[in-house]
């Protein structure tokens, strides 16, 4: 069983590569694509695209299903959602902390000015 941290690691590793992000972005725009359709915008060969798809599939970010000779690739957004949720927790933590830091510092500044007058 792969734990939460390992899943996050795999997700981040998968999306850090620009070609893989571009593949994900393509899949976001449509419901399923063949491997040759996905390879079209890139100046890389089919086997290289297949390798990227392996990494994405290992991270659970895409699924591949075969029908006849055609492999259809689909986006599976759950791992990305999980990773984003993890990051959002940090964002919420700091965003509200810094809002309160701002309010506190501004009240200290206002108090110092009143005293200085």
């Amino acid at each position: 069983m792969v734990n939460y941290q390992q899943r996050l690691d795999r997700t981040f590793m998968a999306v850090v590569d620009p070609t893989r992000r571009a593949i994900l972005a393509q899949l976001e725009r449509r419901d399923g694509a063949s491997i040759s359709e996905l390879a079209k915008p890139f100046s890389i060969r089919l086997p290289a695209v297949m390798k990227h798809l392996d990494v994405l599939a290992d991270a659970g970010l895409v699924t591949r299903s075969k029908s006849g000779r055609t492999v259809t690739v689909r986006l599976r957004p759950q791992p990305m959602r999980e990773a984003m949720e993890w990051l959002r927790r940090y964002e919420r933590f700091w965003s509200s902390s810094l809002d309160r830091l701002t309010a506190y510092a501004e009240s200290k500044e206002a108090a110092a000015r009143r005293k200085g007058r």
Binding site: Y4, F12, L87, T102, A105
Partner: protein
Amino acid sequence: MTSLTLVRRIKARPQVVFDAVTTAEGIAQWWGPDAGPVLVAEVDPRVGGRYRVRFRMLDTTEHESSGEFLEIVRPERIVMTWRWKGGVEDPGESRVEMTLKAVPEGTELTFIHSQLHDEETCRSHEEGWTGSLDKLESHFAAVTVAC
């Protein structure tokens, strides 16, 4: 690697903001994601000095983080390591960096929490972490991935 960047404009001088971040009295007033209390605030603001902050959230859970100051330049810059105590989800050490810039209205605070992800994963990744997650705009805005 993953980092979070936030910028705030504060109507207070940099030294006022700096003191709010580097004194126990100040930290007790703002640290934490909701209005729950800060229970422990220990801070030794010099290079090599440590801090420890424990807070309770409104849902009654308690959380503690601690670390070491790597840089302290009053009133401009604070860099510290960050580690959650007993963090199951985030076992590693990350880095918090705050830069205070004097602006006409007071202070512009740039806050960066970086190295949120495993350094080993980063090093072992042969293609290098050069990309930026923000291209996936529909998913997230303020987060970047870079090594």
